[in-house]
Point group: C2
Chain length 247, copies 2
């Protein structure tokens, strides 16, 4: 790895901290710090709490066998690198590793939430194990992207339940394959809190499209080519960020 | 899989065909047609030749044991679903499966070429096996996206060799992490033949950035968050297509 990457390395600690606070880091994060990055006592590293704060942290003690380290918070700043809009990505669970790929890439991009949805054409279900795996992937991608706000991973909803949530968003966007409207023509630039819906591998049913439209969703195109669902999710998040001047 | 997907299924045959022509399809494509999709004699399927033509094809004979089928071209149309610009994506080979992920997703989006580049910070090299694997991935993604033009997979070049190729493109774009210029401000909408450069995992060196600038590359940002190289490639291709009204 080159210097650009190393100078940006950041670790996740799941609590807000204060300057001068002494904490112990264990488990996977400690293993990463000690065994992969080979940090020593006296090294300063960066932590993020997933709430927008970044900490300068001094390593004061190491137990490499037990994958444990102690240290002290030297500095604290509020530094959300995330977009000035929130994007909740609602997507069908996908086959194989595709949900993980979509979540990893869109977490790097800075989504605020990931909401698995059971559509008519959804084949894959999400269980407790998969949810936990997705939470781990979000943390690991947060670190990759030096992000500071961890996306919330929601429990799965049916599409009808999702429609009931539409009113809690400023803008509901739905990437629809049979639509030719460009995103720029449906975005309301004043929106802050966006729900972005990506369909399952088999596509939306006519009934679902109708219900979504009645619920106020705005449809937009991802181009003439047929994208896999996970690609559609990554592309759609990119375009929404671009439209809102976050890229 | 739902009906939307099935109605769009398409197979790859690596030669231009004429109406009435009788051909034999073997190997992986035949296995896909016969064993996965379970097509029978009398079924009509779609073929694409990777040159922009789509064929209606009638299955007239099947040998399921030998994974072989015969049939006849019923119809032919020129139907390029690819963008009205060509994008050659030049990227460092990446660790693990990341080159494959980037190539798969950007082939779905419709790139015309993929050019592996050895930068100063490139760690992974590409050998004959990897090149062949990439070619297979491009074919499989072409089918996924019902695309009709197969991206060319080039042999690896050094960054200096790539710079020598700059004059053969209308527009050379480089996604640079230390730059805040929005893509829209550097694109020349008259460009047709675009080279899009994505850096290696360790980033560009100062020297490379200088040389690229002298060669006429236009730098643009992918946002404040740090993206993995394969994510950067997918996002950059999406945004270029969006800027050129292909999404």
């Amino acid at each position: 790895m080159g210097k650009n990457f190393l100078s940006c390395e950041i670790y996740y600690y799941p609590q807000k901290l204060e300057i001068g606070e002494k904490i112990i880091i264990e488990n996977e994060e400690a293993a990463h710090i000690l065994k992969v990055m080979r940090h020593k006592v006296g090294d300063k590293i960066k932590l993020t709490d997933g709430y927008g704060y970044e900490y300068e942290f001094l390593i004061t003690n190491i137990n490499i066998k037990r994958e444990k380290l102690e240290g002290e918070v030297l500095n604290k700043k509020f530094l959300p690198r995330e977009p000035n809009i929130t994007i909740t990505l609602a997507s069908s669970p996908l086959k194989g590793e595709n949900t993980e790929i979509m979540l990893a890439k869109t977490t790097e991009l800075g989504i605020s939430g990931f909401l698995p949805v059971y559509f008519q054409n959804t084949i894959t279900k999400i269980n407790e194990n998969k949810l936990n795996r997705l939470k781990k992937i979000a943390i690991s991608s947060l670190k990759t992207s030096a992000g500071t706000i961890l996306p919330k991973i929601y429990n799965p909803l049916t599409f009808d339940e999702l429609i009931n949530l539409f009113p809690s968003f400023d803008l509901v966007l739905l990437a629809y394959e049979n639509c030719e409207t460009k995103l720029t023509n449906v975005v309301n630039k004043k929106a802050k809190n966006i729900l972005l819906i990506i369909g399952p591998e088999g596509g939306f049913t006519v009934k679902e499209v109708k219900k979504a439209e009645e619920g106020g969703a705005k449809f937009f195109t991802l181009g003439k080519r047929r994208l896999r669902s996970e690609t559609a999710g990554i592309v759609a998040v990119s375009l929404v960020l671009y439209e809102f001047n976050n890229i």
